[in-house]
Symmetry: C2
Subunit: 333 residues, 2 copies
């Protein structure tokens, strides 16, 4: 069954089963923000063939990834999620089950965080486009900002980098990575298809900060680890040193690609949706003790550049720049 | 200059001049919701060639209309606006000035309401798509709901209907309406290109309700007057009688099209973005006294249908249905 066969009203009726009943039927949804909290808002737009593709992403995975990217933006602000709105542009000949599976993927990603879909819009479009706005809340003094890093801060990442890019490689070229175990393949593919927004790290960090007040800067690594560190440094007018050998990589990569390739994926691959945090060292220490996959990967400096160091002396120092990162329109020109 | 020449970062930098400085540079924006207020959220997705077209709509007008549609949804909930997010999908060869003029149109529409653009996302897309999420706030007991109409309520519209549809007709067929004055042409074309969200009516209604407590049901007439009354009746499980001769039409229409055509545009044309309110009669009376373009056009009944009556006896009673309204996918099939 295709979308044009049931029309907008028919499709809306089916999609309403994914929303709480009390928010349906008015021109807008009503939501509560807790007293004293600030509202946090973030928007992402995704386009078929650019951000997802049937070749690598099922409709349910596309939905999951879209929701995860937005929850990750909330996590990057230190916020807890309140709800999501979804704007869908659909060609009339899209299968209704594509849309339902897409919504199912979103719902599956939101479920552990008890976050509802609170609104949406469907319209006709020659190509599938998805625009998601996520709403969250945070106490103003607990908001994580990009501009709050200071020289001496430890740089902590909440998990491995390069896994999503490795998973994409296997999806595009299944003949690669023959030496990998079935579990290893599944792990990196899952990292690409079902990334986890690190709201758990935010909750933990908040608990740590209740006992030991401290400043936190940070963002997520959706555009790669290099981009995150560079953006943080630019916003805070500082520099950074990253230790090449400390950057956590998926363990299976060494058996498959060169170290240089693995580091490249970690720095520039993107879509790992981990948090990159700049913290006073004693807070960072507590975080890595309590979050076992978190690692201190470097230090904020009073310098103006981001340097990738190799303490083993195998590689020369490298100055990172945004030019190597993902530029959405640069690819066309 | 085209978008691909300056890239995503270059375009973002230019568009940031349309946003307040303090919201730029983090993964999400922070906003304050007043104590005791509920957050109101609404989303619209627009696609080039479906919702706007260079033939009838300049980029600035497309931006204005997109913003107005969202502010109108907030007005329909009785809310005051807090901010807007904009998700843009753009082909690389779009002119940068198209995007800037689009943003200028949005900003011009928002300006009287001191409402900022608080976030956005730009991505590559084969076709221009725009997804806007509007955020507002309302005291929970002042929210206007579709489901609150009761038999005996007066139905009030805040202004003329059919003007936007008439303006579209002149844009598509400039040879039409030769008998119209230059001012009349400009008025209906402006109604189409620069519709006014009726937040002014909300403010006035709130003042009236401070002095005389009363229940309000309502929505906006973005999909036509018939659709609005039918949706209100469905949500409230009531019926309605509309008086054909009371529906306010743009005065110039009688000199141009038949009465039947004018009524058809008013009922089904859509995009007038007026409010359609159901109110106890004494509140309705106060509203039409103080809002000079507002008119009582009918009554909510305990019936299950919406009847268009003609007290002059010229036309037989007509039962309105949603089938004649705009169905986004129905047009394809």
């Amino acid at each position: 069954m295709r979308v044009y066969e049931i029309g907008e009203q028919g499709l809306l009726k089916r999609l309403q089963s994914f929303c709480p009943v009390d928010i349906i039927g008015d021109d807008a949804a009503l939501l509560s923000v807790s007293e004293g909290y600030s509202l946090v808002v973030t928007t992402d737009t995704l386009v078929d063939g650019v951000h997802f593709s049937d070749r690598t992403t099922s409709p349910a995975d596309a939905g999951w990834r879209a929701a995860a990217a937005n929850l990750s933006d909330l996590a990057a602000m230190g916020a807890e999620p309140l709800g999501l709105t979804i704007g869908l542009g659909l060609p009339g000949d899209v299968e209704v089950c594509w849309v339902e599976q897409f919504y199912q993927g979103i719902t599956d990603c939101l479920q552990p965080f008890a976050t509802p879909i609170v609104g949406g819009d469907i319209c006709r479009s020659p190509i599938i486009t998805v625009s998601i706005t996520a709403l969250g809340q945070v106490l103003p003094d607990q908001a994580i900002r990009r501009s709050h890093a200071q020289p001496g801060d430890a740089i902590v990442v909440t998990g491995v980098h390069g896994a999503s890019r490795a998973g994409l490689e296997l999806l595009l070229h299944p003949e690669q990575g023959q030496g990998l175990s079935v579990e290893d393949r599944a792990t990196v593919i899952r990292a690409h298809q079902r990334p986890q927004p690190r709201l758990d790290a935010v909750f933990l960090l908040r608990k740590i900060l209740e006992q030991a007040a401290g400043r936190v800067a940070g963002m997520d690594s959706s555009d790669g680890l290099a981009d995150a560190v560079l953006q943080l440094c630019r916003a805070s007018r500082v520099g950074a040193q990253l230790e090449r050998n400390l950057i956590p990589l998926p363990s299976c990569l060494t058996a498959w690609v060169s170290e240089a390739q693995a580091i490249d994926w970690a720095l520039y691959g993107g879509e790992d949706f981990e948090l990159v945090l700049c913290l006073p060292r004693f807070i960072a220490q507590k975080l890595v003790e309590q979050l076992h996959e978190a690692v201190m990967v470097g230090t904020i400096t009073a310098d103006s550049v981001v340097v990738l160091k190799d303490s083993s002396g195998l590689h020369p120092d490298e100055i990172l720049s945004l030019d190597k990162g993902f530029q959405h329109f640069g690819q066309i020109g």
